[in-house]
Every structure is written in structure tokens, then in C-alpha cells.
């Protein structure tokens, strides 16, 4: 019984690491279709990673140990986050270690390391990207926390797996506050993962870039790990969204055996396909905001999340 839950935990993490680049590739493909371009193959991200892993690392002369350690820290935090988030099963031994507030902390750790590493070399672009990233981060984090609080109020727990369990037990219709929280969450997801209204993921040389500006000094296996970590981050955010708003199909406590797990995998893949297409659609429909509009955008996400809390408190649903 105990052993099997560890096996499942392991399976979940391995699956997350394996299909995160696939999810990124799927979004890129959908975007290409929507823009009438011929799409890159779904396996393109894997080819990228393979190519990068076979190259030799070129390091700047004044790169410190921090710069070299950061890719591993990033990848490690994202893998740990994937272990905490119930994407397949809720009976996760590791999930008891950290609740979702600690999860937000994990994301913050990754952000701080990436920003410090970007400033480490001392190029103008890196510093610029790091500053912008911190600005977006400090605005997006409270909004994300508010979204999570919204869900905690519904089920009285700060741990994501027990949230999913609670949701499945209630089987209620959507609570009105969830609508606000969901909109706010999508806004935060777009901002945190360097997606279009805030940052353009398909650009490498523009003055407006944020995420890419921080990666300019990385090469070879370091770059591969950072890229992999950022696709894992997107995957993790998508899974948080599924756990909070669309928890159908996730194998709950006590659902043992192979069948619920197969259902969970199928449900996860289905949700990822739809979410990827939806993200691509949102990105294609919206224009990139000026950087000075970003605080406005994120303030709106925060206020929507607060509004969700208020509606829940005052409507007494």
C-alpha cells in the first residue's frame, strides 16, 4: 500500500518530465496553425534538447559557481513542484512535505536564482531581463496566492491533493467565486510563463523580451536544462489549474489499481491538449502589452482574485 503510492509518485514525476516539452511543442504547433504557418513537428522541443545536450558549453570568463549551478537548481525546483502537484493521483507521499504556499515559494526560489544568474555575467541584456522578471514576479505572486486562497476557502485546506479530494467528494456545481479565480489564474499563468500579453516566447532578439533576455548567456546543456525547466514550469502551472478548476479524472485517495491510473493519464492528456489549444488561441488573439501596462494587467488579475474571495464570502455560497 505504502510502496505503491511511492511508485505512483515516481511515475507522476517521470511523466511530467517526459511530456512537458511535448506540451510546449503542442502549443507552438497550435500557434503556427492559427497563424497560417506550417507547424514545426511536435517532437521539435526534444530535438532541440538533444542537440543542446551534445554541444560543448561555452562559459563567460567571469561566470561564477552560481551561474553554473542555476540550471540544476531550476530543473530541481520544477521537478519537486511537479512532485507536489496532483496531476495524476492525490495519494502523493511527497505532497505532505509542502502545501501550495510552499509551492509558490518554490517558484519564487527558481525565479530568484534565474535572475541572479542573469545578472552574474554583467551583460546589459541579462540585468534588464532580470529586473523585468522580478517586477512581473512580485506582481504575479500575490495574485497567484489569492487564487489559491480562494480555493482554500472552499475546501478548508492548503494542500492541493486534499483540495482535489474535497472537490471530488462534494461533486457540487461550480461555485461563483471559481469563475473569478479561474480568469485571474489564466492571467497569472500567461504572465509567469513569459506568454504573449507580457512577453513573447518566440522572440530571441528584441528589446521587449524578458525571459529570453535572461538566458542569452547560457549554452549547451545549461541552456537545455533551463529550457526544459521552463517547459516544466508551464506544465506545472497547467496542472495547478487542472487541480483547482478541472479536477475530473484525477485518481483520488483509495482509488487503487491500474484502471483509475489509466483514466487519470488519459484525462490529463486530454486536458493538456485542450488547454494547449486554448492558450495558443488566447495568445494569437491578444497583442503584447507595453511593459508599463504589465502592472495594470497583473493588478487586474489580483483584484479579480480578491473579488472572487469577496463573492464567496458575501454571497455565502
Amino acid at each position: 500500500m505504502r510502496a505503491i503510492s511511492y511508485v505512483r509518485q515516481f511515475l507522476e514525476v517521470v511523466l511530467a518530465i517526459a511530456i512537458a516539452p511535448l506540451f510546449t511543442g503542442w502549443i507552438a504547433q497550435c500557434r503556427a496553425w492559427l497563424q497560417n504557418r506550417s507547424a514545426p513537428s511536435l517532437l521539435q522541443p526534444y530535438r532541440m534538447l538533444r542537440k543542446l545536450f551534445f554541444k560543448d558549453v561555452a562559459l563567460a570568463q567571469n561566470a561564477s559557481a552560481l551561474f553554473r549551478a542555476t540550471p540544476y537548481v531550476l530543473f530541481g525546483t520544477m521537478v519537486l513542484a511537479a512532485a507536489i502537484i496532483p496531476s495524476l493521483v492525490t495519494d502523493l507521499p511527497l505532497a505532505r512535505v509542502a502545501d501550495s504556499i510552499a509551492l509558490v515559494g518554490l517558484f519564487a526560489t527558481a525565479r530568484v536564482f534565474l535572475s541572479l544568474a542573469a545578472m552574474d555575467i554583467g551583460t546589459a541584456f541579462g540585468t534588464l531581463g532580470a529586473r523585468r522578471e522580478m517586477m512581473i514576479g512580485f506582481l504575479a505572486e500575490p495574485a497567484l496566492l489569492m487564487v489559491l486562497f480562494n480555493a482554500f476557502m472552499l475546501f478548508g485546506s492548503t494542500s492541493l491533493p486534499s483540495l482535489v479530494d474535497g472537490y471530488r467528494a462534494h461533486q457540487s456545481v461550480v461555485d461563483p467565486s471559481v469563475i473569478f479565480a479561474a480568469v485571474a489564474f489564466v492571467m497569472v499563468l500567461l504572465a509567469e510563463n513569459a506568454r504573449i500579453p507580457i512577453d513573447n516566447p518566440s522572440t530571441h532578439l528584441e528589446l521587449t523580451m524578458i525571459h529570453e533576455a535572461m538566458l542569452l548567456e547560457y549554452s549547451a546543456r545549461h541552456l537545455a536544462l533551463v529550457e526544459w525547466a521552463s517547459s516544466l514550469k508551464l506544465f506545472n502551472y497547467a496542472c495547478i489549474g487542472f487541480a483547482l478548476f478541472l479536477p475530473w479524472g484525477i485518481a483520488t485517495h483509495g482509488a487503487d489499481g491500474g484502471w483509475p491510473l489509466l483514466v487519470a493519464i488519459a484525462a490529463l492528456l486530454g486536458k493538456l491538449v485542450i488547454a494547449g489549444a486554448a492558450l495558443a488561441l488566447i495568445e494569437s488573439l491578444s497583442a503584447k502589452l507595453r511593459i508599463f501596462r504589465a502592472p495594470e494587467y497583473l493588478a487586474m488579475a489580483f483584484l479579480l482574485a480578491v473579488l472572487g474571495l469577496l463573492v464567496h464570502l458575501l454571497l455565502g455560497a
Binding site: S172, E296, A299, L303, L307
Partner: protein, 221 residues
């Protein structure tokens, strides 16, 4: 019993959607986007009125729901679209007072409206009584939108959104107003938009823009 609970829950979700659209209107800059949002607000109002009619079994509610669909989802957005097209104002955007500040004010208004509705809610017996606070909030938010806007067309949309809120308040507090009054209001709205449309052309002819701050000074020079 379970059935009516489901409807009550759905009504709450729709009410939350109305509030969400009100906030979106408060934050949106483009006139065309505002009209689309207004049409969506009307559509939500239509669905919620239909649900109330179904749960209360009042036939005349269906009529007022139909009127909402006809007027607020189809006719008025169409008229407004044509109007801004003819005014050449479809890509108009306006500088707002700092959006986060406006949203904060909106948030305060929502809390105020909920507080205001509390005593009425506790006395009402309708299935929709919980949504009265949201209806009041929608009215106040539309008010706020009218205050923060400077262009004529957007002010009219604010006015119409306020009427949406009033209609929703009437349905949630007392299952709607008498049919005669509702017909009267509908006609008033339609005629009002026509007259204001003529005003738009006059204002533009006088000042070469639809900015209402021009109207604040009585004389030129």
C-alpha cells in the same frame, strides 16, 4: 428540491458572470469592445431571467426575457455598432483614470453594495435573493464607468449597463416589474439611444470630437 438548488446555484454563477463583465467594461479602453461586452451582459441577463421564469413558473417573465434578448442583445448593440461606424469612432480608445485605482474603487463599491443588500436579502423570499447584492454592485459599477469616461458613446453604454443592473435587481428582489412598466422602460431605452445618437452627430459637428469635456465650458473663447 435538489432541482431548484441547482437552478439557484446556476443563477449565482450567472450573477458572478455579470459582475465579471461589469469589471471588464470598467477596464476596457476600446468602444467596440465595450459594445461586445454590453451584448454579452444582455445575453447573461436573458439566460438568468429565463431560469428565474422557469423556476417560478411565471409566464410573463418569459416575455421580459424575450424583450431583453431582442433589445439588449440584438437591437441596441447593432444600433450602437452602426452608430460608431458612421461616426468613424470604432477604433476610438480613451485614456482612463489609472485602471488599478478605478478597479479598487469598484471593489469598494462591491463591498458597499453587498452591505446595502444584506437587510433586503434577509427579508426577501425569492430564489434569486442572494444575487441582489451583485445587482446593486452592477448598477454602481456602471455609475462609476459613466463617471470615469469622457467620450459620449461610452457614457451611453454605461447608462445602458446601469439599466441592465436595474433589471437584474428587479428580477432578483421581486421576480421582475409589472409588464407595463417593463415595456415602457424598453421603449424609453430604444428611443433614448436614438435621440442620443442624433446628439452624437450634433456634438461632433460642434466640437469635431465626441469628448464631453468640451461641453463643460458654456462659451467659446
Amino acid at each position: 428540491m435538489h432541482h431548484s438548488e441547482l437552478i439557484a446555484q446556476l443563477l449565482k454563477v450567472l450573477a458572478a458572470g455579470l459582475l465579471l463583465i461589469s469589471f471588464a467594461m470598467l477596464a476596457s479602453r476600446r468602444t467596440q469592445q465595450l459594445i461586445t461586452l454590453f451584448a454579452w451582459q444582455g445575453a447573461m441577463l436573458f439566460v438568468s431571467t429565463c431560469l428565474v421564469a422557469y423556476s417560478s413558473g411565471l409566464t410573463e417573465m418569459y416575455y421580459s426575457a424575450g424583450l431583453t434578448l431582442l433589445l439588449k442583445v440584438i437591437a441596441l448593440p447593432w444600433i450602437l455598432h452602426r452608430l460608431i461606424h458612421r461616426l468613424g469612432a470604432q477604433w476610438d480608445s480613451e485614456q482612463l483614470v489609472n485602471v488599478p485605482t478605478t478597479m479598487m474603487a469598484g471593489l469598494a463599491l462591491v463591498i458597499f453594495a453587498f452591505g446595502l443588500a444584506q437587510p433586503i436579502t434577509s427579508m426577501a423570499t425569492t430564489i434569486t435573493r442572494h444575487t441582489l447584492g451583485i445587482a446593486l454592485a452592477v448598477i454602481l459599477l456602471a455609475f462609476l464607468m459613466m463617471i470615469t469616461r469622457r467620450k459620449a458613446v461610452t457614457q451611453v453604454i454605461g447608462f445602458l449597463a446601469m439599466e441592465n443592473g436595474l433589471f437584474f435587481a428587479a428580477t432578483s428582489a421581486t421576480y421582475g416589474m409589472p409588464m407595463v412598466i417593463e415595456l415602457g422602460i424598453a421603449l424609453d431605452l430604444l428611443v433614448g439611444v436614438f435621440i442620443l445618437g442624433i446628439f452624437f452627430f450634433q456634438i461632433r459637428e460642434q466640437f469635431d470630437s465626441l469628448d464631453l469635456s468640451n461641453l463643460e465650458s458654456l462659451k467659446e473663447d
